[in-house]
Symmetry: C2
Subunit: 336 residues, 2 copies
């Protein structure tokens, strides 16, 4: 099959690789009908996570089941499925506690013609028939980015009538805004400096946008929130400055929900101690949220697919990485 490979820093190629095979009886192979590029793919692309040898890349996809292992019961060839990037057995202590599976497998070739899903029964969520084509972008976001933004809001403890501050205006941050608004936060402050992203944030339910960062950003947030920080803070980046910003805009007693893969982030333990600001979240247990989010998308209550502002043929995936790296695109949708 043809798949996206990373060979090194800023070296993405769409090329022939061996066809995937069923290697465990719980596996399924999914024919990819839509995929996308994740902000976390950029860590490898930029060389911050070094690539020691070429490998397939991409963990978000939507597809149709092509083949299943002997033990797979709940999905069958022909089913249209949302593929959570982190697969689950659905039975371990972590899964039962709403955390990422202890026996986790991750989609390894989402940006390809086919992807293997381990623990297919515990992972895949099928739809009734093939959903309307215009819903595919939103359905694709459930594979990771929307579920991850939702997890940030859940972890931060967003509550009806409360206030929420979202740090990060990437696709995850924007989905975090949508999640916080959907959960009923009365005030949702999006911290964003980029006009097109601010616009999506507002469309997703941000009641306020703060373009400033650092001390000025903290002051602007506090002015909006009556002199204090947010009841819930969604940290949707993962780096040092974002963590620092998140803790600074947290009200005493608040929780920072973090979902960005930590890179150079430090936890201000003394501040957490004195202000009683908690930290929760981590890698999103996507499967946990899929049924609820799927309903919201199919009912057209939420439209997270708006985060895609560039669509490319899969064969031009390298251009997609470039666009996201240069921030000329928020998130790139890839079609076979």
């Amino acid at each position: 099959m043809k798949a996206t490979m990373i060979h090194g820093e800023r070296d993405i190629r769409f090329e022939e690789v061996p066809d995937p095979t069923i290697s465990a009886p719980t596996d399924a192979i999914v024919k990819v009908v839509a995929s996308c590029i994740c902000g976390s793919d950029l860590w490898s692309y930029r060389g911050e996570d070094p690539t020691h040898e070429p490998h397939t890349i991409g963990h978000e996809c939507l597809g149709v089941v092509e083949e299943v292992g002997a033990d797979v019961r709940d999905v069958a060839p022909g089913d249209f499925v949302v593929v959570p990037f982190d697969h689950c057995d659905g039975t371990c202590s972590a899964c039962l506690n709403g955390a990422p599976c202890e026996n986790v497998g991750i989609t390894q070739s989402g940006q390809a013609e086919y992807a293997v899903v381990t623990h297919a029964d515990g992972s895949l969520v099928k739809t009734d028939g093939t959903p309307d084509r215009d819903l595919w972008p939103s359905l694709l976001t459930l594979s990771d980015v929307m579920a991850t933004g939702w997890h940030a809001a859940v972890a931060a403890g967003v509550r009806r009538g409360g206030t929420a501050v979202v740090v990060g205006d990437g696709a995850v941050g924007l989905c975090g805004v949508l999640a916080a608004a959907q959960m009923g936060a009365e005030t949702v402050v999006a911290m964003s400096r980029h006009e097109p992203r601010q616009e999506i944030a507002r469309a997703f339910g941000a009641t306020h946008v703060v373009a400033e960062r650092g001390k000025e950003g903290v002051a602007a947030v506090k002015e909006i929130l009556g002199g204090t920080g947010g009841d819930a803070v969604l940290e949707c980046v993962g780096n040092g400055p974002a963590f620092e910003q998140a803790f600074r805009v947290a009200r005493p007693g608040a929780t920072v929900g973090f979902v960005g893969v930590p890179h150079g982030a430090e936890v201000p333990l003394r501040v957490m101690f004195s202000k009683n600001v908690g930290l929760a979240g981590g890698m999103a247990p996507v499967r946990r949220y899929l049924p609820e989010l799927l309903d919201l998308v199919l009912a057209r209550t939420i439209d997270p697919g708006r985060v895609f502002d560039l669509t490319l043929p899969l064969a031009e995936v390298a251009d997609g990485y470039r666009a996201m790296d240069e921030r000329t695109a928020i998130k790139v949708y890839l079609e076979p």
Copy 2:
């Protein structure tokens, strides 16, 4: 008045100091009827927090109101009161969110004849008349240690029917065991190597005691809990090894409730990310829990005063510090 002073490392003296005075109209002066030594006082005693110039020490006490400032309305001279170590105005954004007051004052001379309480109305909780003398030790624990153990359990999200693991067998850890049991945790594992402390832990509701530490400790906890970690973990020490232990005995998706002043502790952010283990807590907002805990003590439902295993006259406070430093006493009760 006579007060406990710290002059430097392991240099505690009970000596004459100026009488305290009302310096703000919201202050009250409390005549101390019982006080005690906190594990956190040992950071200064051991020189880990250096003493640059001599000062009074001690922040836990029980007493009778002696004098109040002009604006104090809710307490009056003669009232028997529990003094939360961290005072609250009861009106700031932090207090309203259940976190330690933003304008926090701390009792500065608890181990003395008199203590000043700032924001007396927001802080002090009075009893109906003078409680039975045998209840005083338990009432005194509400000033800090029991409320702090309770905060660890609340922050860790202890729930009825769930499992809890308590790291640390100091007085706070033992109170954490009591709190977790009182909140209905079905399994409460106390990690303790010391026989007398294990005994109190069992009396407080620990269903299991694990004496091992490190990897062996983790294995022992997991064996008790059916192969996984605790739904809630109470970190009641604050140092590096205790933090590490706490995260290792946490079930994926659990929360570590921490209440010990952090000293050399590191937060394993990558573990938090992959296992979705949260961290919450910090300095206990004692006043928030006082009404509930006071009822439990007065009804003789809980008996946290059992943590005191040595009673000394206040004048012999230096011996009390020595006993706690050498771990020959768990917690020392001081009488005028």
